[in-house]
């Protein structure tokens, strides 16, 4: 006789050895290991204040014959706490999905039941195969002022709990972030960065349901973001970038009329175009190049600080470099 037995953490559990009398001589094992007689009351096994580590297979054998008389699988767990439920439409106007989870594990199997009511109509929420804790609903109506009521009930052998969300069609609309964000320097423009992106692929009809976008950018060395809201188009040119500074850029999307902003897109980095320094024409360099290899002197980009506009003539380059090193040292102090 074998079955599963569910008990709450902290409970006292008494197991009978099947139909054996109380005073029968028996041996109990837990996962194949003999249980000490101190846990027995006659032939009953007593487990006080059970914890999760006591989950396992418990078997009872008749004393002399070692016949298996009773077997049970003890699962120690907890009744479910109120589940966390979220509903969102990232593919408006097709439909929405709801997903859920338990705030703390129960350690025993749970079943979930979701009901969706729109006015007086019960709608079917089709469960996704993956992830398991998600289902989706197709909108049967659009532009309805009647709210949706979604109730999730979670049940296990030790209890049940539920939560309800009530919302209208537009409140849960939140697109996925824009995709394929690309930022590039603009040749010959030390203060510009060209940013482009695409509509999220989950948004089914951007022509009929256009998205607007929010772009934010800042140089890595500063904390403050600049923001630009764009009502159409999937590109923008930043025109006030600090020359030579690496930027971090992100984009978010929102339906033009309803709902909330998406999360920020994956961040991209870009540095505006900077002019390559002119070759030095001092005597020292001529001497160097006549004995050295044919490669020309090219300072690494990260050390280039001087703007094209700030430098006049090749003679000023050496001065600029000295100033640049001083500024770099100054900058490091403040990062």
């Amino acid at each position: 006789d074998s079955h599963i037995q569910y008990e709450r953490v902290g409970a006292d559990v008494t197991m009978k050895c099947g139909s054996m009398d109380w005073d029968a001589a028996v041996t109990w094992t837990a996962n194949g290991t003999d249980i000490d007689e101190s846990h027995l009351n006659g032939s009953y096994l007593i487990l006080k204040n059970v914890d999760l580590t006591q989950s396992g297979q418990y078997s009872c054998y008749e004393g002399s014959s070692w016949h298996l008389k009773y077997q049970t699988y003890l699962r120690v767990g907890t009744p479910p706490k109120e589940p966390v439920l979220m509903c969102r439409s990232n593919n408006y106007p097709k439909g929405f999905y709801c997903s859920w989870h338990l705030p703390t594990p129960t350690y025993i199997p749970n079943s979930f039941n979701i009901s969706v009511i729109h006015g007086t109509k019960e709608m079917v929420c089709e469960k996704d195969i993956y992830p398991k804790n998600r289902c989706h609903i197709r909108y049967l109506q659009l532009f309805s002022t009647v709210k949706y009521k979604v109730t999730l009930t979670v049940t296990n052998a030790l209890g049940k709990n539920s939560t309800t969300l009530t919302f209208d069609e537009v409140a849960i609309v939140k697109p996925d972030p824009p995709e394929s964000v690309v930022a590039k320097p603009v040749p010959n423009n030390p203060r510009r960065l060209e940013v482009s992106w695409q509509n999220p692929s989950s948004w089914p009809d951007p022509e009929s349901f256009p998205l607007k976008f929010f772009l934010r950018y800042r140089p890595l060395i500063l904390d403050q973001w600049q923001h630009v809201e764009l009502s159409d188009g999937t590109s923008h040119t930043i025109t006030d970038a600090y020359a030579g500074k690496e930027y971090i850029i992100q984009v978010a999307a929102k339906d033009n009329d309803i709902g909330t902003w998406s999360d920020w897109s994956v961040a991209v980095h870009a540095t505006p175009w900077t002019e390559e320094p002119k070759h030095l024409t001092t005597e020292a360099q001529v001497t160097e190049t006549t004995s050295a290899s044919t490669s020309s002197f090219m300072p690494p980009p990260t050390t280039k600080i001087c703007d094209k506009g700030a430098v006049v003539g090749s003679g000023a380059v050496a001065v600029c470099w000295t100033a640049g090193l001083v500024l770099a040292a100054y900058g490091v102090l403040f990062i």
């Binding site: 109506q141 532009f143 009329d257």
Partner: protein
């Protein structure tokens, strides 16, 4: 009058639709502000649920994406003509309640009524461009004002404004559909088809 499908008619149509979308957006924004004012001045709970109000055109629609262009225009026009009457009734009731006091609510109601009238006219222009012309309003009596208590009238007003806000969203979407090139199938939002 230019043929419905001539290039100049198509340009006119596109222009009217674009302006209509902007009108609908502004109207929606003003209706939402009016809703806030209405709820506050009438002492209502903003989350109060209102059952379907008789005589108020419901924006909710099934198979919205399958509607033809003509259906969209006709349904929009019928709705805004009804809202014109309903808002006029609300304004009249408001004036009866408070006399001639020029309240913020009264002014907001009047401003939205003006926009609703303008939008209805805009829709009529679009239908004229289709060589179809808008249906006549002659002979259609305004719906009778139901005999309701003060609180019920306030709730009814809330229902009217909520539905109008939803219509403003739908109208922008409908007009945007009309600017899309026809796909040539019978279910596409085509200008040529009539119900």
């Amino acid at each position: 009058m230019a043929a419905a499908d001539s290039p100049s008619a198509a340009l006119q149509r596109r222009d009217l639709c674009s302006r209509g979308i902007r009108l609908a957006g502004k109207m929606r924004s003003d209706v939402i502000d009016l809703l806030d004012t209405y709820v506050e001045r009438q002492g209502l709970d903003a989350s109060a649920s209102v059952v379907t109000v008789e005589g108020v055109p419901v924006a909710a629609v099934e198979r919205w994406d399958e509607q033809t262009g003509t259906q969209r225009l006709l349904e929009n026009l019928a709705a805004y003509r009804a809202f014109r009457v309903l808002l006029a009734q609300m304004l009249e009731e408001h004036r009866e309640q408070l006399g001639d006091a020029d309240t913020a609510l009264g002014r907001a109601l009047a401003a939205v009524l003006l926009q609703v009238s303008a939008f209805a006219y805009h829709l009529e222009e679009l239908l004229r461009l289709e060589s179809r012309g808008p249906p006549s309003e002659e002979g259609t009596a305004p719906p009778p004002v139901p005999h309701l208590g003060l609180f019920e009238r306030k709730l009814r007003g809330l229902g009217v404004l909520r539905e109008l806000a939803q219509w403003a969203v739908r109208s922008a979407r409908d007009l945007r559909q009309l600017t899309k090139p026809s796909l040539g199938s019978s279910s596409a939002p085509s200008w040529a088809e009539s119900p």
